[in-house]
């Protein structure tokens, strides 16, 4: 491949990153993990730019940094895909929809806020958004089971109980599971087995 087509290929990837995030961000109703689910489907299942493990790693890192999860995830996914320009393309795509929508709405937000059809559509839409997250979670759990490591499955179940029922903060959860992972890999190497 000569230099010219290489450059074109790069531009094509930045553009695709930008437009992917632009579309996903436009439809991310209901919090940061919704866009993570959508990004997982887009970048792993459709484009094959990242592996599932990478998505989970990068999400953990994005969640432990300050700031909005969607913005952090866009930066770190974009960087992993195409370094600094990739990060900038992804983050730009992520923030343009909310800026545009809020800028327009701030002019007549009272009508929008009090519109019953809008409120109804947003309420029923949650069922669809929940289905998208469940779809991704089912795939992730299936693949976790396939690794045949019951310890990791136990970590997931305990993590879920901690997060959903006990409302343990995500930072604390990440910290605890990082320690568990470290302890697991240490015990494996001591036994002389392959690292986890």
């Amino acid at each position: 491949m000569n230099k010219e087509t290489l450059k074109q290929n790069d531009l094509h990837i930045y553009w695709k990153l930008f437009t992917s995030m632009l579309t996903l961000s436009t439809f991310t109703f209901g919090g940061g993990f919704v866009i993570i689910s959508l990004m997982q489907k887009r970048f792993v299942d459709e484009l094959h730019w990242l592996t599932e493990e990478e998505v989970l790693d990068l999400t953990a890192i994005a969640q432990s940094a300050p700031g909005a999860l969607a913005v952090n995830a866009a930066i770190i996914f974009g960087y992993r895909i195409r370094k600094l320009p990739g990060a900038l393309a992804a983050v730009l795509g992520t923030i343009i929809p909310p800026i545009t929508i809020i800028s327009i709405l701030s002019l007549f937000y009272q009508q929008f806020r009090d519109n019953r059809i809008v409120a109804l559509a947003l309420q029923v839409m949650r069922a669809g958004v929940a289905a998208v997250i469940f779809d991704v979670v089912i795939t992730l759990i299936q693949n976790l089971i396939r690794t045949k490591q019951p310890v990791l499955l136990a970590v997931m179940i305990l993590g879920f109980i901690a997060s959903f029922f006990l409302q343990v903060s995500s930072i604390l959860l990440i910290l605890l599971c990082a320690l568990i992972g470290l302890a697991l890999s240490r015990s494996h190497t001591k036994k002389g087995g392959a690292s986890v």
């Binding site: 029923v124 997931m156 997060s163």
Partner: protein, 191 residues
């Protein structure tokens, strides 16, 4: 200089907001309503409602809203830039570290422990959203079981089936569920 003030106010919000949108919201309230008096409390309540009704992170929505009110579109852009600048600096540094060191055994060990934790957090977010859809509340120990909504439940099952069986695009699912659900409610005369 209002632009500088706006930038640094939202820079602070971006830098100190750990742990999701609602944590950011109380930080925004203390900065924007109590600290700078840029918004009245009633306007802030409107802001929360709108942020929940529109896509995008709450912090970015709030930054745009406040900036737009105080200094028009340039204000909106500057506030948003202020809000994401700490993320850009910190997350880019972490990205660089990940790409450089993720192959080290110790780092791999930590990451292996983190993956199930992330699945747990996504599952927890999904269940919260599902309960909100089905019962209008996500508080599991005081769930209003009598408020169960059959239409949303049917919609959820149908959407999940379409996603698993036919790999329908998630964007289409989200948009379609909003449209279909609204039509069903209107047809049933429940509005």
């Amino acid at each position: 200089m209002i632009y500088l003030e706006l930038f640094f106010c939202f820079f602070k919000i971006g830098l100190f907001s750990f742990g999701g949108g609602y944590a950011a919201m109380s930080l925004i309230q203390s900065q924007v309503v109590l600290g700078h008096h840029w918004l009245e409390m009633s306007e802030f309540a409107d802001l929360i409602t709108i942020a929940e009704m529109t896509p995008g992170p709450i912090a970015v929505n709030a930054a745009t809203f406040v900036g737009q009110r105080l200094a028009g579109l340039p204000g909106a852009l500057i506030c948003t830039l202020g809000c994401i600048t700490p993320s850009l600096i910190i997350v880019l540094l972490l990205s660089w570290l990940y790409c450089r060191y993720s192959n080290l055994d110790t780092v791999q060990g930590v990451l292996v422990g983190l993956r199930p934790a992330v699945i747990a957090m996504i599952a927890s977010a999904g269940l919260t959203l599902l309960l909100l859809a089905l019962f209008g509340s996500s508080d599991w120990h005081t769930l209003p079981l009598s408020d169960f909504r059959e239409i949303e439940c049917g919609l959820f099952v149908l959407c999940l089936f379409l996603l698993r069986r036919y790999k329908v695009s998630p964007i289409l699912i989200i948009f379609g569920s909003g449209l279909a659900g609204t039509l069903v409610y209107l047809a049933a005369g429940l509005l």
